[in-house]
Symmetry: C2
Amino acid sequence: MPRRVTIVDVARRAGVSISSVSSALNDRPGVSEETRKRIVATANELGFVPSLRGRSLSGRRAFAVGLVVHRDPDVLELDPFFGGFIGGIEECIDARAYALVLQISASSDGALDRYRRLAADRRVDGVFLNELEVDDPRVGLVEELGLPAVGVNAEAGFPLPAVRQSHDEGIRALVAHLVELGHRRIAYVRGRSEFIHSVRREAAWRDAVTSTGLVPGPVVSGDFTYAGGLSAASALMGLHDRPTAVCCANDLSAMGFIAQAQHMGFDVPGDISVAGFDGIQLGTYVRPSMTTVQTSPRRIGFEAAKMLLSVIDGETEPDVRIPPAELLVRESTGPAPAEI
Amino acid sequence: MPRRVTIVDVARRAGVSISSVSSALNDRPGVSEETRKRIVATANELGFVPSLRGRSLSGRRAFAVGLVVHRDPDVLELDPFFGGFIGGIEECIDARAYALVLQISASSDGALDRYRRLAADRRVDGVFLNELEVDDPRVGLVEELGLPAVGVNAEAGFPLPAVRQSHDEGIRALVAHLVELGHRRIAYVRGRSEFIHSVRREAAWRDAVTSTGLVPGPVVSGDFTYAGGLSAASALMGLHDRPTAVCCANDLSAMGFIAQAQHMGFDVPGDISVAGFDGIQLGTYVRPSMTTVQTSPRRIGFEAAKMLLSVIDGETEPDVRIPPAELLVRESTGPAPAEI
DNA sequence: TTGAAAGCGCTACCAT
DNA sequence: ATGGTAGCGCTTTCAA
């Protein structure tokens, strides 16, 4: 293993001082164009790659950002959201030679410790705050730690810079679509109410239904899971005045709902229209293919990363809005049954 | 933002030299028990957290390991495997204060560049080589880069240390299970043949079938995807001598297969028994619940991380074998139909 | 047992 | 425009 080429080697070879090399390579003023060229050439010739560690220690930067995923150890299959989200982050930070440090915290309280350690070790220059909860303790924590952070799909009044994709328009369009199909009893399968995006989606559904003059149908919990969707269907489809359409908080629970409804002998969408939320790949292929509201995890990741890097650079960033999630009509929604 | 507490502060406060502090805090010999205690106490009192950057620069360690996930940008929903795998890695490395750097490389050739950058930046001390392909170029690359690496589910003769979970026993048990149920025409839905685990599973299936004295049934591609499973079912179930049972390379394609078979009017498992591979959560809930061979991503991640840390420490590690993947009989497999 | 000091590789400031 | 040099915070010899 040959010794690493350092800035000293470049300086010596180019016949200049290391400070000139540093300035030249970082596009800082104070070097003549001529010397800069020579230095760059020498650096290339020698295959010089500045040491991240040296830069980190000196420049007080980790050149990395952190994402803490809060998942139960038992349910450690990552949400479909994360693939795109992380892909978007990467797409952005890679161009600036940053890296992503991923942490998975099994226990709920453990998550906060991860942020503390990340900060104590100065392992990252900033973090993403996603899957925000109501009164999320992380907000206070990052402030206390002095850790730059950006929120993802935060509620209004969120004290930190945040990127948001509105769900309201998509949900409104979905409800309008259902109403147009003749549905009058539209139920909702909610997610876990500690998450603000869960609360927000439900509120959007309620508003949308109400604003068409209808009374919101029954609401049951679906827990964002397939199993939750199954039991939600059992509950709703057993009702006396059962709904003719149902909006689910995410695609996974919608898939469970459809499976259980079919199992109970109902036709989808003949007897019951079911819509999901997220726009996961699978929804394209299942039968019936799933009507959903498609979000943009990749775009969100990209913008959040861009924002985080700016915040790290000390800029005060205005919030960013991603174009709203859009309704995707497929086969799981159809005309309301004539009678019931 | 108060200035960070450094080793100098601790040394001064404890009335010793910084080298003594370093030795004491790292459990190195050369400090009396008495001084060590005093130093530890002072460090705690001051809330001293050693700077990762200082340690990195001096100790030539990044205290991080890397995982490059190779995914198409369009299919950026992470494989269910990764959740558990990453969880296992974390569980292991967290105890040693290492962190995981995750990269997602959109393009195929880009993946190799990620390893190069990771190595050039000395951003990580080692990497995981997973989803190994036949003649995988990464093997030569990490050797050339001098980057410590461990393989995950590598083939025999793999030149680097590797952790493996045998699939053969599970697949053999699965085939035995099907044969016992009276199946004689057992087909296979393969994954993408560039992956060695894909090749390996198919070979295991073939061996298992052959060793029971039967002739292996038809093999079609399922691409590891739900959509692939759909088309595999179209192909196989349209055959004149169609199989009565089918083993799929993974759960996702099995789900697609089941959906399409049902759509074509076949009963699962009445007309066709379908088995998956992986043991993803969803398989528990779908109808019929899925017979599968359950792997241990978390355990694999844990052992791979443990091995990688050892390799980084310069130890020569023997390969590790995880207990074999086990057959999980559920509802998607049943007695072979009497006639056809 | 203890401590001084030399790195590690860079950035940034201050002379020249 | 250039170069010298003092950090950054730690580990690791090597003397004392």
